[in-house]
C-alpha cells in the first residue's frame, strides 16, 4: 500500500508543480488539496488488493480493525502512524512562486510573484517611520501584557479613522465596531466566521478572478461562495455589465466581496461612476458590501483617494464589512496587523453587539434581528488565538496617531506608489517600442496597484519562466 501511495503522491506532485507554475504566473486561483486529494484516495481504494478481511472503510479511508484491545495492540498502536494515510499538500500557489524563484540559479532571474514591495535595488523596504516608531517604543519600554481580545484600543481608533476619515458621520456617531485582526487574512477570516454564525446559508460573491486565498478562507470558514464576472480578457479591463448582472442575479442578502482599490490580481478598479452603479444594485438586492482593503494609500499614493469606494458606500448609510491590512502600505507584512470593521446602522449594534435591527432598503422594508458588533467578533477570535499580537498594533498607533509621523508616512507612501507607477510607465514604453504586433499595451498604465494582469496565456507565461527566468 505504501508504494502505491508513494507513486500516486509522486504523480500528484508533478501535476501540481506544472499547474502551480502556470496558475501562479497568471495569478489564477488554485484548487486546494482538499479538492484534489480525494480523487486519488478513491483511486487508491479501487486499485488496492484487499487481502486483509479485517480491513474496514470509514469515511474514505482504510483501517485495520484490531480484533481486541489487549496488550497485543499496544505494539500496533505505537508502531502504526495515525497520519499514515495523509497525502502531501501542494505548496501555496502564490508563496510557491518565491520558492521556485529561490531555486533558480540564473543571474538574470526575476521574481514577479508575491505582492511585497521592493526598492529600485529589488530589496525589501522597512519604512523610516516604522523604524522611528519602533525606537520610540523601545525607549518607552512598554510592557508586553495581553491585549484585550479586540486588540489595542488606540490602534482600533486610528484604523477606523484612517479608513473612513475622522470627520466621517460613521466615526462621529460611533457606528463602527473595529476589531484588530491578523492582517488582511485574519480579518477576512473573522468576518467569514461572523457570516457563518449569524447569517447561516448566506453566500459571499467573489470576483472572477480574485486573490487566491479568498476561496480558502471561505471554504475553511464553511461559508458558501460563488463568483461574479470581473475580468474581461477581450478588453483586458472590467466586465462591468457582467459584474452588475451577476450581483443582481444573486440571492437577496448575499455578501459581495469588493476590493477597495488596486484589485488583486487584475489591477483593474471600477471608476467612481461604476462604483455608484455597483452600490445601486447592492442596495436594490439588500446585499451587504464586504470590502477587502489591502492597499489603501499604496494604489494611487493618496490615502483618501484609495478609500473613496468604501466612503461612497458608507455615505449612503449602508452597513458594511471592511477588512484592512497594513502589510503593504506600512510594510508591516510579517507583523500581521490589520482590522475587521463592521459599519452599522446604529451605535447600539456597533458598540454592544446587542440584538439589533437591519433595515432593508426598497419598498418592502423588513426588520430582521441580527447580532453583530464587537462582542460577537470577540467570541470568534478568542477560540482562534485569544488576543492579537501587540507589536504591529503599537507601530501603527504610533505612526498613524502621531501627526508628524503620519505626514512622514504619507510622503514615504507616495514614493512607493510613485515607484510602482514609474515602473509601469517604463514597462509600457519598453513594450511599445519593442513590440511590432500592434497589441495595445495601455492596460499596463490603466491598471493600478502592485499587480498587473498581463493577459498572457499559459504558454507565454511558461516561456517567460523557462526561457527568461521570470517567475
Amino acid at each position: 500500500m505504501g508504494e502505491e501511495v508513494a507513486a500516486l503522491n509522486g504523480y500528484c506532485r508533478q501535476t501540481f508543480e506544472s499547474l502551480k507554475m502556470a496558475s501562479a504566473i497568471l495569478s489564477l486561483p488554485f484548487p486546494t488539496a482538499a479538492f484534489t486529494s480525494r480523487p486519488f484516495l478513491d483511486n487508491l481504494k479501487a486499485n488496492m488488493k484487499l487481502g486483509n478481511p479485517n480491513q474496514s472503510t470509514l469515511s474514505g479511508k482504510d483501517y485495520i480493525r484490531a480484533k481486541s484491545f489487549t496488550r497485543k495492540s499496544v505494539t500496533s498502536a505505537v508502531e502504526v502512524s495515525r497520519f499514515g494515510d495523509m497525502t502531501m499538500a501542494p505548496p501555496d500557489p502564490i508563496l510557491g512562486v518565491s520558492e521556485a524563484f529561490r531555486a533558480d540559479t540564473h543571474e538574470m532571474k526575476l521574481n514577479l510573484g508575491v505582492g511585497a514591495y521592493r526598492t529600485e535595488d529589488l530589496q525589501p523596504y522597512v519604512l523610516n517611520v516604522v523604524k522611528k516608531a519602533e525606537n520610540l517604543m523601545l525607549e518607552r519600554g512598554e510592557n508586553k501584557e495581553y491585549l484585550p481580545i479586540e486588540g489595542l484600543a488606540a490602534f482600533n481608533k486610528v484604523t477606523a479613522e484612517l479608513l473612513l476619515g475622522v470627520q466621517n458621520d460613521v466615526i462621529q456617531q460611533q457606528r463602527v465596531a473595529t476589531v484588530q485582526g491578523l492582517s488582511g487574512t485574519g480579518s477576512l477570516r473573522l468576518a467569514a466566521a461572523l457570516i457563518e454564525r449569524y447569517f447561516p446559508g448566506s453566500k459571499v460573491l467573489i470576483s472572477s478572478p480574485t486573490w487566491g486565498n479568498h476561496k480558502n478562507i471561505f471554504n475553511d470558514a464553511r461559508v458558501p461562495w460563488s463568483e461574479y464576472r470581473y475580468y474581461d480578457p477581450r478588453t483586458v479591463g472590467l466586465d462591468f455589465h457582467g459584474m452588475i448582472s451577476d450581483i443582481k442575479a444573486a440571492p437577496e442578502g448575499s455578501f459581495v466581496l469588493l476590493h477597495g482599490c488596486a484589485h488583486n490580481p487584475t489591477g483593474i478598479d471600477p471608476t467612481p461612476e461604476q462604483w455608484e452603479s455597483i452600490a445601486d444594485v447592492i442596495q436594490e438586492k439588500n446585499h451587504i458590501p464586504f470590502f477587502d482593503v489591502a492597499y489603501q494609500g499604496f494604489a494611487s499614493g493618496s490615502l483618501d483617494t484609495d478609500a473613496s469606494s468604501v466612503r461612497l458606500f458608507a455615505a449612503r448609510g449602508m452597513e458594511l464589512l471592511v477588512a484592512q491590512s497594513y502589510s503593504k502600505n506600512l510594510g508591516l507584512y510579517a507583523e500581521r496587523i490589520g482590522a475587521i470593521n463592521v459599519v452599522c446602522s446604529s451605535s447600539d449594534i456597533a458598540q454592544r453587539g446587542a440584538r439589533g435591527r437591519r433595515v432593508f432598503y426598497g419598498d418592502d422594508a423588513r426588520i430582521v434581528e441580527m447580532k453583530v458588533g464587537k462582542s460577537q467578533l470577540k467570541r470568534l477570535a478568542r477560540p482562534m488565538y485569544s488576543n492579537p499580537p501587540i507589536h504591529g498594533a503599537r507601530i501603527v498607533a504610533n505612526v498613524v496617531g502621531n501627526p508628524e509621523l503620519f505626514n512622514e508616512w504619507k510622503e514615504e507612501m507616495e514614493l512607493m506608489a510613485g515607484r510602482i507607477k514609474s515602473v509601469r510607465k517604463k514597462l509600457y514604453d519598453s513594450l511599445s517600442a519593442k513590440d511590432n504586433s500592434g497589441k495595445d499595451w495601455s492596460f499596463v498604465l490603466k491598471q493600478i496597484g502592485m499587480f498587473s494582469f498581463t493577459g498572457l496565456n499559459d504558454a507565454q507565461s511558461e516561456n517567460m519562466t523557462n526561457k527568461w527566468h521570470v517567475t
Binding site: 482538499a34 483501517y63 498502536a77 495515525r82 497520519f83 497525502t87 475553511d220 507583523e335
Partner: protein
C-alpha cells in the same frame, strides 16, 4: 577448499608512531613512560576532554532522537491558543477519531477552541478507542494539581494500550517548578516510547511575551516522511486563517534560545519568577495557619504553577469581592502571580472572613451579578 587468493599477502610492520604505544602497553615496568604519540596529557598523565566539548556533547545527546530523526514537525503559532486551534483543526480534518477528552476542570477557553475546530468533546470513557486526550504538561490550569511521575507513567501505559492520541498543552514550561527540563518531563516520557503525540507550547508566561502571541505546535510522528506530509497539511490550515505568523515575538524567542549566555540568563530569570510564586504560596499558607482559619489549606503549597484552586465556593468568592475587593474567578481559582508579600495578609483576612462569617444557605441579591463571572470570561489565563 581452494587456496585463498590472498595467500601470498605478508604481514605488514607496526606503524612506527602508534606502534610505540602498542609496545608501551605491553611493557610491565612501573616506571614506564610513553613519549611517543602526540596527544595531550594532563599533569597526572591522563587524556583530557575539554569542558566545552562535554557541554557540546550534552547538547547533542539532549537533541532528542525524535528530533534527530526528523520525526517532529513544528510550526510557529499564535501562542498556546493558536497552537491548540491549529492542532485541533488539523486533527478534525485528518484524524479519524473526532472526539477529544478534556480534564474536568480545565482552562475555560479549551472547549470552544476544540468545538469550533470541528472536534466533539468526549463524554463517556467507555467509548474512548483511539480518541484524542488533552493533557496539561505541567501546572494544571486551574487546579495546580499535577500527576506524579509514577502516575504519568501509568497514564502513558493506559493511553498507549487504548491507542489514545495525546495532545499536550504546555503553557508553563519552566514556570511551574523553575526547571525547564523537569516541567517537560511528562511530554518527554510519552515521546520516549516512540509513539505519536501533539504538543502546543506557549511563551506567554515563561518568557513574559503575553501580548506578542508566540507559541508553537509540534507533532511527533512515526517517520520523517509522515512529518513532512503533516507539515504540509498544517500549512493548509494556517494559510486561510492568518497566512503566516507574527514575527516579533518569534525573533525574541529565537535570539534567546540560540545564545548560550542569554539562555542561561533566561533560565535564571525564569527560576526567580517561579520562586516568587512558590514563596507566595508559602506565605499565604502560613498566614491562614496563623489566623487559625478553619480547614486544611495545605493544598496551597502542594499545588504547582500560577494558580491555586482554593476550594472556596461561589458565595464565598462573591463575598470576598464585595467586602474585600478581591477579584478572582467564581470557581475559586486565584492567580498567585497577583499576590505580593504586602498583600498576602489582606487576602488571608478575606479568606478567613469568607470561611468563618458567610453561611452557605443564603445568596443575597447583590452577589448575583458577581456570581456570573467565571474563568471563562477573563482574557488572561
Amino acid at each position: 577448499m581452494s587456496d585463498s587468493v590472498f595467500a601470498s599477502v605478508v604481514q605488514a610492520p607496526e606503524d612506527p608512531i602508534l606502534g610505540v604505544t602498542v609496545a608501551y602497553n605491553k611493557d610491565q615496568s612501573p616506571v614506564k613512560l610513553n613519549l611517543g604519540v602526540g596527544a595531550y596529557r594532563t599533569e597526572e598523565g591522563k587524556p583530557l576532554v575539554l569542558n566545552v566539548v562535554r557541554k557540546a556533547e550534552q547538547m547533542l545527546v539532549n537533541d532528542h532522537p525524535a528530533i534527530q530523526e526528523n520525526r517532529v514537525t513544528t510550526v510557529q503559532c499564535l501562542s498556546g491558543t493558536g497552537s491548540l486551534r491549529v492542532g485541533a483543526e488539523f486533527l478534525a480534518r485528518h484524524y479519524h477519531e473526532k472526539s477529544i477528552y478534556i480534564p474536568q476542570p480545565t482552562w475555560g477557553n479549551h472547549p470552544k477552541v476544540f468545538t469550533l475546530a470541528g472536534l466533539a468533546l468526549g463524554r463517556s470513557w467507555e467509548r474512548t478507542i483511539r480518541a484524542i486526550v488533552l493533557l496539561h504538561a505541567c501546572a494544571h490550569n486551574p487546579t495546580g494539581v499535577d500527576p506524579t511521575s509514577d502516575q504519568w507513567e501509568q497514564i502513558r501505559q493506559l493511553m498507549r494500550s487504548k491507542g489514545l492520541l495525546p495532545f499536550f498543552d504546555s503553557a508553563y514550561q519552566g514556570f511551574a517548578s523553575g526547571n525547564l527540563d523537569a516541567d517537560a518531563g511528562s511530554i518527554r516520557l510519552f515521546v520516549a516510547d516512540g509513539g505519536e503525540c501533539l504538543a502546543a507550547q506557549s511563551y506567554a508566561k515563561n518568557m513574559g511575551l503575553y501580548g506578542e502571541r508566540v507559541g508553537a505546535l509540534s507533532i511527533v510522528c512515526k517517520t520523517a516522511d509522515t512529518a513532512t506530509r503533516v507539515e504540509s497539511q498544517l500549512k493548509l490550515v494556517i494559510r486561510p486563517m492568518y497566512s503566516n505568523p507574527p514575527i516579533h515575538g518569534a525573533s525574541i524567542v529565537a535570539t534567546i534560545l540560540k545564545d548560550g549566555d542569554m539562555y542561561t540568563e533566561w533560565s535564571v530569570e525564569l527560576k526567580a519568577m517561579a520562586d516568587r510564586i512558590i514563596s507566595m504560596r508559602q506565605q499565604l499558607y502560613d498566614a491562614l495557619c496563623a489566623r487559625g482559619t478553619p480547614g486544611d489549606w495545605s493544598h496551597i503549597i502542594k499545588q504547582i504553577g500560577m494558580f491555586t484552586f482554593t476550594g472556596l465556593n461561589t458565595n464565598q468568592v462573591a463575598f470576598m469581592t464585595k467586602e474585600y475587593h478581591i477579584y478572582m474567578t467564581s470557581d475559586g481559582r486565584i492567580s498567585m502571580a497577583g499576590l505580593s508579600s504586602r498583600t498576602v495578609p489582606h487576602l488571608a483576612d478575606a479568606i478567613h472572613a469568607a470561611v468563618t462569617v458567610l453561611h452557605r444557605s443564603a445568596i443575597s441579591g447583590s452577589y448575583r451579578a458577581i456570581l456570573n463571572r467565571s474563568s471563562h470570561d477573563l482574557t488572561s489565563e
